[in-house]
Symmetry: D3
Subunit: 186 residues, 6 copies
């Protein structure tokens, strides 16, 4: 039964508004025990000549990219070893923390570090979660499959990645998985 | 500059409204590149005699508990081996997935499984993230410290837990950590 | 899905607001093919120091009485031949139009007119409809039962009454029924 | 002084909105003793990409036809004995209740029943009232004129019809009039 | 932090809305100790088919001209002795009150009165203030420069003019200045 | 017909809200050619737990004093030569500009300057105008009466004062009047 009204300068496309509609609905259901179907969101867009702060017109800023899409594209580029595309998605001060490794800041470092650990690896996704928490945080989880250095295949190894984004760019990646668990199994 | 208005049946205490204010602000900043300070949230509470659906009065439901608090209390109870308190926080169909273990459904199972793996373990938290995504999801991450079965201490082992909640109760816990990484290190 | 907000000076009791909630819901469903359950009404009441017209505070007026209740009370008083109570419910310029009678303006006239037509009559109600249409109009329909002048009983005779009200008082009553149909039946 | 805001998915034409504006004004004046001129109605239409329920876009449904127009068209068709047009305006489960007749369900039944009662009949309307009351109810009243079976003309006979509509179709017609009163008069 | 919403029939151009945005912001800051930057104004324009009073559509009226512009144009026309243009800006019942003069009602009177007092005069503006106070009042102040009848120049003489406007036309001008102060100085 | 809604943190007393209601009405009538009676203002006050910026509660600030009252009290104190009261109403950087005088910054300076100019002076007010224009500006105008140094009385001398206020304190006073005009008259 809760009703949300969002007043916004115009300039957002239908997909942006869809994301706002969903995110505001989710926000309400964190506290109010209503089914999502019971939450209504109305977005009121205003042309610039109908919005004033300090008595002056203001312009709306372009929407941030969908953070889950940014992360998905980054992970695909890394799997495909397409470093230029991946690099374009990371921001200043980027760092990565992988299990059993020192923090890394360059994508090429990660490629070098991974080389002796597996010949190839592919992610099967079970889900993405997006949180605003200071900046934006994206969680993605699922299972890894691939080929060990000795040529034997593996799959079904659980993983979870946590990404921090600022202004639409990835600034941090933290990775947890069960690779060591597998390797240490008898 | 975005302005959010939430219309709600009355019956929420200030802490609930604070959580709504923060969650709605976060939701907007996922799409609109505004600083949180530029997002205004107004909550309009209505007494039951001012809200009608189908021409009839409706009652507001009690707020859901803060999911981060539920998870924190659960983790504390488990660390303290206070199973009755922890049990009261889990819901129907509860299951746990730990690294290198089969899925478990009883808290006592987990205690038994952990016994040969470490004498004790304590969590130091770096952060909690809460997402509405179907039900509610809570992520908590940080480092583990404790004592191995042979009496040697450990600390600084990274972990992340993912909890699913339904109607305020924990229904699923997924755990990832670097314990195997540590044990498998030479 | 339609949402109605009504801004009103305070001073209405819960029953008045219930009537407003229902009437506004009805109004929407005349045009929008939504189930009543899909129509939300929010009533925003304002204390006098929060409402200004021409820069000056205004006071709210007392609610009009429920017109269906006024009519029901009038009809009960007339059945019970309690003319003072009935008289208090009629307003200036009151007139009545009964089948086969000239227009009447005094309740006592009606009593006199009815006397040779039946010993007694009782109304069984099937429904009341209330319309705002200039002033307020109340329809009530159902069946008549009673005793003819010759002592034989009757029942199941269809009737419909139409009442006009101004400022909460009845100013006109139009009556249709099947009494003549019955009497003229062989 | 009351102010009504209606939030609606777009897709209604100016005439629909005019009907909503009038119906909402009427609804308020049933309870609040304000002149219609003191009631303001603002209709806020939203494109589909600005309205979300359950985080998903919804589409507005086409407006219901003006029930008074439907009834007027039905009555005209019946007077003109244009049964196909009249039939297209009635819905499932249609029934009619005329004075001194058993309930009828087919328009042709009514024509047959009326044949021995009058050669022709025309309605002069004094007013239509429209109510939402579960479904939609239309009252129309006025006087009948026409020609008796024996060729003598009549006029000024009071009538009132009550119509129930569901989803824009007539599902019930109840008729009261003074025909028997006239015929039984000496 | 205050937020103003203005609901208005459409028909105002961006400059009119800019003036409304500024005037509403100013109005708030007279009472609330907020910086103008903390005041948000949202103007909601409604097409005529979305606004009803008394259940009927209403049309918006054309905006009043910017009163500061009207006054500025009047003063420029008077300085240029362009009486037809100035005359077009004054309304019924116009009167002027200058220091040391009887009230005047005709622009030509003023020209005649001024002739022996200075050869020419030019206004340098320091500021305009606009107030709604019954009708509209415009204050303009600054300094006068020009040439005395004897050919000597002057400048820096303070003046203030107060104008009353009704329906966009000037109906009264009151003038104060330090000319006498100057002339009476030794 | 314009409708203004003001959303405000609670903490304003009825007189403050009255001033807001009037000022917002005035603001609208500067642009929209509506009678003040056609302008509705609704003030929505929010308790602090219903208003969030940056996801955090904010407190409302105390209302600014009525600037016309501040000016009136200042002028009365000065007439009564009650310098401590007047001084308490002026703010940092206060300055005064009187006809034929250098700018003054101290109230005692003004008293000294006025001494040889008149024995006493009293203001009769014709009107106050208040404008928000950067800070707040108050105009007051009317006529002066009093006694010249030689003991002869005077009255009916036109004056206008312009006051600037910052945060409720007077920071500047500009005075124009016809005293020199009178003195220079033959």
């Amino acid at each position: 039964m809760p009703i949300v009204e969002l007043h916004l300068l115009e300039g957002y496309d239908p997909e942006d508004k869809q994301r706002l509609g969903a995110a505001l609905t989710d926000a309400v259901t964190l506290v109010v025990p209503a089914l999502p179907e019971a939450v209504t969101v109305m977005i009121h867009e205003m042309p610039t000549d109908q919005y004033y702060r300090g008595g002056e017109q203001r312009s709306g800023a372009a929407a941030l990219p969908d953070p889950a899409k940014v992360v998905r594209q980054y992970l695909q580029s890394m799997e495909a070893r397409d470093l230029p595309t991946a690099q374009a998605l990371v921001g200043d001060g980027f760092m990565m923390q992988f299990p059993g490794a020192d923090p890394m800041t360059k994508l090429s470092e990660l490629i070098a570090w991974a080389k002796p650990r597996y010949q190839s690896v592919t992610k099967t996704y079970e889900g993405f979660d997006v949180v605003a928490s200071g900046g934006t945080v994206v969680y993605c989880r699922g299972t890894l499959s691939g080929v060990w250095p000795d040529g034997t295949p593996f799959d079904g190894i659980r993983f979870i990645d946590r990404f921090e984004l600022q202004s639409g760019k990835i600034t941090r990646q933290d990775v947890w998985n069960d690779i060591a668990e597998f390797r240490s199994a008898p």
